[in-house]
């Protein structure tokens, strides 16, 4: 009798067998997997490349650098891709479209390796950095180029539009240290 009483008040027996739902295949549209910095001077074309096709985690990123020629004024173009999706997505266009919310910063160590200058502008007349010029040093030298892309920086803060990251703020979307060699 007591056992019956025990089970009796269980009125609603909705025991839906919960099945685990299939996850969607990994497809991170937000990701930038590849950064290609192309230096061009006529027929002299050099690349600094960062590639991490499977995103963070998994295989480590592969960074390749070409040595640059001394005493040359290169035209620099940065291309960004998401190679984890098919077809490959060119993120460069998105950064261009939201140019006022993005800025690249080039920091060299030692500072006399080269001189970078911005060669593009956003809708407010401030630099983005997808296009720039790079004037390499006269003599052989080696060091690092720290390339940073900031999202929503304060371009009006002191020296930011001149290329100084100190007061820029915003969020770091890209930060890569490339070997920078001038031969």
């Amino acid at each position: 009798m007591k056992i019956k009483l025990f089970f009796m008040p269980i009125l609603l027996l909705i025991l839906v067998a919960a099945c685990t739902k299939e996850p969607t295949t990994p497809n991170d549209e937000e990701l930038i997997t590849t950064v290609d910095v192309q230096f061009t001077n006529g027929s002299d074309v050099k690349h600094l490349t960062f590639r991490d096709v499977d995103g963070s985690g998994g295989n480590a990123p592969i960074i390749t650098t070409d040595a640059l020629t001394a005493n040359v004024n290169y035209n620099v173009k940065i291309n960004l891709y998401n190679e984890s999706v098919t077809p490959v997505d060119t993120i460069t266009y998105e950064v261009e479209d939201e140019g006022d919310e993005h800025q690249f910063f080039f920091s060299l160590n030692p500072t006399n390796l080269a001189v970078f200058a911005y060669a593009d502008q956003d809708v407010n007349g401030r630099p983005i950095g997808l296009l720039s010029t790079c004037n390499t040093s006269n003599s052989v030298a080696a060091g690092t180029l720290n390339l940073v892309l900031r999202h929503q920086p304060d371009k009006t803060a002191a020296n930011v539009s001149a290329g100084d990251i100190t007061n820029a703020g915003g969020e770091t979307d890209i930060e890569i240290n490339f070997d920078f060699v001038v031969l």
């Binding site: 025990f6 909705i14 025991l15 919960a18 985690g57 950064v95 915003g170 969020e171 770091t172």
Partner: protein, 765 residues
């Protein structure tokens, strides 16, 4: 009709009417007013018939008599200095005798526990409840704010609006939130995931400190926070309340309305409640915290039906909230985090205030549907319930190419439970069975890799609790067993993984309550709890933006085992002083925690430290102290303090997020406005939080300095006929001090809240 005839008729009617009334207006209401707990008489309590204003005091034996009462429908108001006002509906058709019990010591025992909760079958655990009275004085506070009134309960915060309670050094997966008897299923593993609860719809919050895993689940290792509603008033008139709360810091407004009614036979009752809150940017003493506004909406509907020994309740609680996340706390990399800490003002700070909520933000929703049946027996009851919960959590980052959330989790949970309780003079026991299933899935359209996988969990449990009274001692014993099946589905690279896991969880508890003298109690409890690793501990995989870290789960983790010892000394001298001292020691065999692996992963945003879920031997121990002294007829002094220490015994390191030492003092002064016992309370509170010198390793920044806060409050009651208005004005951080708290994750980016003036009114009808 002539004027004379009219006058005669009028007088005749008048006389009959008058005689008619006078004939029957000599009924008497007699009675005695007792203390709810020990049935001692409450001398000088007062009884008022609200409708006729007839009023009398009880004598020293608690006896009262109201005479010359006319027949009618009345509301009797019973008042006593230290009790909650009780309103008793009464229909007088003859002489009436009443025996009434009041919840005495309502103020005195605010933070102290004498565990005589009717529904509790354990005497050896620490159970602290915040009464309706104390909650009314803190209306509008977040859960952390409310729980801050209880010694030893702290909160891990992500700003002021988002917080998770910490009990005895444990939070998240080790503390269980229970709403109306149903364990809350949500994404509680996340440090930025606050429980999705509307406190305006709750009438009572209680905290059970220490392992009380037996009844609710092995997840309740650190304790249980119970959110409950009181019974619907057994009165066939519509009653309820309307509340309004204003916070000057954030210009927050809240409106809440509650209505409830029973039918005359008391066989049916209903309640409906709704709350709306809107607040904007909070302010530190120096600047606005950009994008820290919030909007919350909630409603509750409840229906009760009684027939004989059966009692059925159907309850639906809905809550939704949108919370702004401090714009300046949204970082992209480790460099950003280090830069942020160097700044005196967070990036993106604006000079002006705004109610607007932009990205980054959180949007959460929780719905609880509960059907509960109770069958009352001679010495106990049989209680069964079915509940369905739906939890939806979206977290929006600042994304480059879309407005979609970066985290979008849906959780559906069902719970079916049945419990049989038996109570007699010497022996109480509870036996129960539960079946739970949980079903979690990431929204398909995210376009970002999910942090935790899709999974389903089934748990079947059984438990028993037992209390025996032997002379002046109560002995508790209890055990619980859970069988858990987990299935997780996730992608590793491009291949789909399906993992099945089984866990056997258990809990065992034994305790004793010694009632040595009338004033002294000593409680001891030993608990063993084994809990299965949670989904984030097993399968986390991804970049945790706010923490600038990559977090990785470990799917080979074994269950965590805890041995916990709690000892509570209580000294209580009637109406003079109450002291509670609670030392505790918790030893873990496989404490699961996120640890820095020492390795870094290079990503396009730079290098991020990799944190992994590991397990190791650990201990967490501490001391909670509460004291309430009635130093003068009208003055009370309340003191609270807590210390916690947590250590990873394998690596000899401190565990992160252990609360720093603190103590608080409060002085309360009560005045009586007039003989109707309308109280006006003044109080001043000081809080001292020490610097957390036991720094967790791999913390990017040093812990902030200790700080001192000053607060004050005036509150009172205004009777309006049958109704009451409760009001309070509170000021927190009166000195407008700049400070950062170790447990607030925004301490990397910004100061905590500056001064705040709170206005509260509650109109009870």
């Amino acid at each position: 009709m002539s004027v004379l005839k009219k006058i005669v008729l009028f007088l005749l009617f008048g006389m009959i009417h008058f005689l008619g009334e006078a004939q029957n207006c000599n009924y008497t209401i007699k009675g005695v007013i007792l203390d709810e707990h020990d049935k001692s008489p409450l001398e000088f309590a007062s009884v008022l018939i609200t409708e006729t204003k007839q009023f009398v005091y009880c004598n020293e034996l608690g006896l009262f008599e109201l005479s010359n009462v006319c027949p009618g429908d009345y509301h009797l108001q019973i008042n006593h200095l230290n009790c909650e006002t009780v309103i008793v509906p009464l229909q007088v058709v003859k002489d009436t005798n009443l025996v009434l019990s009041l919840e005495h010591h309502a103020q005195l025992l605010q933070t102290i526990t004498i565990n005589k909760d009717k529904n509790n079958t354990s005497y050896s655990t620490v159970n602290v409840a915040l009464s309706q009275e104390s909650m009314d004085k803190k209306l509008g506070n977040s859960l952390s704010g409310m729980l801050g009134e209880i010694a030893g309960v702290r909160s891990i915060q992500t700003g002021s609006a988002i917080g998770s309670p910490i009990i005895h050094g444990m939070w998240g997966n080790r503390v269980m939130m229970v709403q109306n008897g149903v364990p809350m299923q949500s994404q509680q593993w996340g440090v930025e995931h606050a429980p999705e609860i509307d406190l305006f719809s709750a009438d009572k919050i209680s905290v059970i400190k220490g392992a009380y895993a037996l009844q609710y689940g092995t997840r309740a290792m650190g304790g249980v926070v119970q959110i409950e509603n009181q019974a619907i008033r057994t009165d066939h008139h519509i009653h309820g309340y309307g509340s309004y709360v204003f916070n000057s810091n954030g210009l927050g407004n809240t409106l809440a309305l509650n209505v409830e009614q029973s039918n005359k036979r008391n066989s049916f009752a209903w309640r409906a409640q709704g709350t709306y809150t809107k607040a904007g940017d909070l302010k530190t003493p120096q600047y606005f915290l950009r994008n820290t506004g919030k909007e919350e909406k909630a409603f509750l509907v409840q229906m009760n039906a009684n027939k004989g020994k059966h009692h059925l309740t159907v309850l639906n609680k809905f809550y939704t909230g949108t919370f702004g996340i401090l714009r300046g706390s949204h970082i992209g990399s480790v460099t950003d985090l280090q830069d942020a800490f160097q700044r005196s003002t967070p990036f993106y700070t604006e000079d002006n205030f705004s109610y607007g909520i932009i990205h980054p933000k959180q949007k959460v929703l929780h719905n609880l549907l509960n059907v509960n049946h109770q069958y009352f027996l001679n010495k106990g009851k049989l209680e069964s319930s079915y509940s369905f919960q739906f939890n939806k959590r979206q977290e929006f980052d600042v994304r480059r190419s879309s407005e979609k959330p970066s985290l979008f989790l849906n959780l559906l949970a069902q719970n079916l439970q049945s419990q049989f309780t038996h109570k007699s003079a010497k022996w109480n026991y509870s036996v129960g069975m539960q079946y739970e299933n949980k079903f979690n899935f990431n929204d398909a359209d995210l376009n970002v890799l999910p942090l935790i996988p899709n999974y389903s969990i089934h748990v079947a449990s059984a438990y028993f609790l037992n209390t025996v009274k032997l002379g002046k001692t109560h002995l508790d014993i209890g055990a619980r067993y859970e069988f858990e099946h987990l299935q997780a589905k996730y992608y590793k690279g491009q291949s789909l993984q399906i993992d099945n896991k089984r866990f056997n969880n258990a809990a065992f508890s034994v305790g004793m309550l010694f009632d040595t003298k009338k004033e002294v109690q000593w409680r001891n409890n030993l608990s063993l709890v084994k809990r299965a690793p949670e989904i984030n501990e097993l399968y986390s995989d991804g970049l945790h933006h706010g923490a600038a870290a990559i977090e990785q789960g470990n799917k080979n983790l074994a269950s965590e085992m805890l041995v916990s010892v709690n000892s509570v000394f209580t000294y209580q001298k009637h109406e003079r002083i109450s002291i509670e001292i609670n030392p505790y020691y918790q030893y873990f065999i496989n404490y699961i925690n996120l640890q820095a692996s020492g390795q870094y992963a290079l990503t396009i945003r730079g290098a991020f430290p990799i944190y992994e879920y590991k397990s190791f031997k650990a201990q967490i121990y501490g001391l909670d102290v509460s004291m309430h002294a009635h130093v003068h007829k009208q003055i009370d002094w309340i003191f609270r303090a807590a210390l916690v220490r947590g250590k990873n015994l394998k690596d000899k390191e401190t565990i992160a997020f252990m609360p720093a030492d603190y103590f608080s003092n409060q002085l309360q002064y009560k005045t009586l406005i007039n003989k109707k016992n309308d109280l006006l309370n003044f109080s001043i509170k000081t809080t001292n939080v020490f610097k957390q010198t036991r720094q967790a390793p791999n913390d990017f920044v040093l812990s902030p300095n200790g700080y001192f806060l000053l607060g004050a409050q005036i509150d009172g009651k205004i009777p309006l006929g049958k109704h009451t208005i409760k009001w309070s004005i509170e000021a927190t951080n009166i000195l407008n001090k700049s400070y950062r708290d170790y447990l607030n994750r925004w301490r990397y980016f910004a100061d905590d809240m500056g001064a705040n003036l709170i206005l509260r009114t509650k109109y009870i009808f």
